[in-house]
């Protein structure tokens, strides 16, 4: 799978019009001399036939070497390692916050809370229609410019994390709440809940022990999608809040056409996606005993 992703990206990059050696030396405007171009080609192995380059690329990747960034003149793996932590923290906290909001809303509205239904309906529309940058701008205008409670740019520490996390978590929670609500309603109507109630379990006990499991199953199934949405959102959010991270380095790499860095980030994200989908399967088994029995 990772091999397929690497192959697709490698050949996609070969479609770039123009000479990669020129890009290394600062783009078409740099008027690099023929000798400098030849040297750059030799340094980056660009004078080899395409197939050899491809094999070299795969070999380097197996050793964990993703090449050097054109713009930063640093190993890609170092840039990625430096920025990975910030994005992971942002994504993880956002995911937890989103799950908490979604679960609260879903449980509340499934038990007949009209207000909760209203809130989740609004959040649902927010998910579908509000771009991340727009939400971020509105939050900055409200909490930083008008109320002056929170910093408009992401400062180190938990306070700087609040607005970026809210920006990522709110749309996600709307989507999750919608899915969880359906499955909670399904579970509440099913015989095992009736049986548990007949055994004399409290309604809270039934909810936490039985219904919640069912609500978790579809939500876990969406983990891969949620990961992708968080990473896509992180590109925008990190840019707006000037927060160091993978998303922001990806964007600046795209703007500077820093091909090795773009490739490196894309590969790491694809790896993350695969990791998440694998964990999803494990999580499914943990929550759903029917899968373990097979």
């Amino acid at each position: 799978m990772l091999w397929a992703v690497a192959t697709v990206t490698f050949f996609a990059i070969r479609l770039i019009p123009g000479d990669p050696a020129e890009a290394i030396l600062g783009g078409p405007g740099s008027q690099a001399s023929a000798a400098a171009l030849a040297k750059a080609r030799a340094d980056y192995g660009l004078d080899q036939p395409l197939f050899v380059q491809y094999l070299q690329y795969l070999g380097r990747m197996l050793r964990g070497d993703l090449g050097d960034s054109y713009a930063l003149k640093q190993p890609v793996i170092a840039v990625v390692g430096e920025n990975l932590g910030g994005t992971l923290l942002l994504a993880l906290v956002s995911l937890l916050v989103a799950a908490a909001i979604a679960l609260g809303l879903a449980a509340w509205s499934a038990r007949g809370g009209r207000v909760a239904s209203g809130i989740s309906w609004v959040l649902e529309v927010v998910t579908a229609a509000v771009p991340h940058f727009w939400l971020a701008i509105s939050l900055i205008l409200l909490f930083s410019t008008t109320l002056d409670w929170l910093p408009p740019v992401s400062v180190p520490g938990p306070l700087g994390l609040v607005l970026p996390v809210l920006t990522l978590a709110l749309p996600l929670s709307g989507f999750l709440a919608q899915v969880m609500r359906e499955s909670i309603l399904d579970a509440m109507a099913s015989p095992f809940v009736l049986a548990a109630e007949a055994r004399g379990e409290s309604s809270g006990g039934v909810f936490w022990r039985h219904t919640l499991r069912h609500a978790a199953i579809p939500a876990i199934g969406l983990a891969g999608w949620a990961f992708g949405s968080l990473i896509s959102g992180a590109v925008v959010v990190e840019t707006i809040f000037a927060r160091p991270g993978l998303g922001r380095s990806l964007l600046s790499a795209v703007q500077q056409r820093d091909v090795p860095l773009v490739l490196g980030v894309v590969l790491v994200v694809a790896l993350g996606y695969m990791l998440v989908t694998t964990l999803t399967d494990l999580g499914d088994r943990l929550v759903d005993p029917r899968l373990r029995a097979e």
Binding site: I13, L15, V125, A128, A129, P131, F133, V236
Partner: protein, 265 residues
């Protein structure tokens, strides 16, 4: 209750279409006319949404930009759904190895979250309106393709198709007369939602400086221009953003409302 929302969404959509077709009627004036003496004016009666750094009226620019923005949304969706139809039909109708190959290929594409696929495309072909539109179309295609494939698999086994086969209808006749119309029914919802989504996506790319560029009167480009003045002159980003959201909310409301209606009847 939700019927009310259907009408509100429909009205908003109608307004946007009118703005796209006849911008001069809703907002007479030149969207590119500059007036430096009037720069950075806040919203007022003479300038409904305020003015930008060159004194251009933002309301006029937004209305005149509707056509371009809707066009980007519609073409990106058309590209996405078109590609998805090819993939979905190949996977759903072709021999087993083709289905296997296409599905694997789509799985690989799924490993790139949407915006990443778009960014990858832009790094190859450079920023701009056309490339960002194609990028959004490409990025949305895998999702559509998966839905179309599963729909094709259902329709393929339907009794009416079996009947058509027994009656001796040719392969293309069955595809054209029976399969496509039935797949298209479920596509309607996807496409309507997709246009709103594509506008949001394309504007995100423009906001990041990778799509349409100023001074074009396009919503995303206006956002990207206003980005520099975000905290001091909020109306420069607020109102274009409002229209982007309005188009996405309108399509969502209309689809939700129509779904609800068809479920009731």
């Amino acid at each position: 209750m939700r019927q009310v929302w259907l009408w509100i969404g429909g009205a908003a959509l109608l307004f946007l279409v009118c703005a796209a077709l006849a911008p001069g009627v809703l907002a007479p004036g030149d969207p590119l006319a500059i007036n430096p003496a009037q720069s950075f004016r806040g919203p007022s009666l003479s300038h409904l949404f305020g003015t930008d750094e060159s004194g251009r009226d933002i309301y006029i620019r937004i209305i005149h930009g509707t056509g371009a923005s809707l066009l980007i949304g519609v073409s990106a969706t058309a590209i996405g759904v078109g590609l998805a139809l090819v993939f979905g039909l190949l996977a759903g109708l072709g021999p087993r190895w083709l289905d296997f190959g296409t599905t694997r290929f789509l799985e690989v594409l799924f490993a790139f979250p949407g915006l990443l696929l778009a960014l990858l495309f832009i790094v190859v072909y450079g920023p701009g309106v056309v490339t960002s539109t194609i990028a959004v179309g490409l990025a949305t295609a895998p999702g559509y393709a998966r839905i179309i494939r599963s729909r094709v698999l259902v329709v393929r086994r339907a009794p009416y198709l079996e009947a058509a086969t027994v009656l001796g209808r040719g392969r293309w006749f069955r595809l054209w007369r029976h399969l496509l119309p039935n797949v298209a029914g479920s596509l309607f919802v996807l496409v309507t939602l997709g246009i709103g989504q594509s506008i949001v996506w394309a504007s995100s790319l423009s906001y990041l400086g990778l799509g349409a560029v100023p001074p074009a009167a396009e919503w995303g480009a206006m956002l990207s221009a206003g980005r520099t003045y975000l905290t001091s002159f909020w109306w420069m980003t607020f109102f274009p953003g409002l229209f982007i959201m309005m188009s996405a909310v309108a399509t969502t409301l209309v689809v939700r409302g129509l779904q609800k209606r068809s479920r009731l009847s």
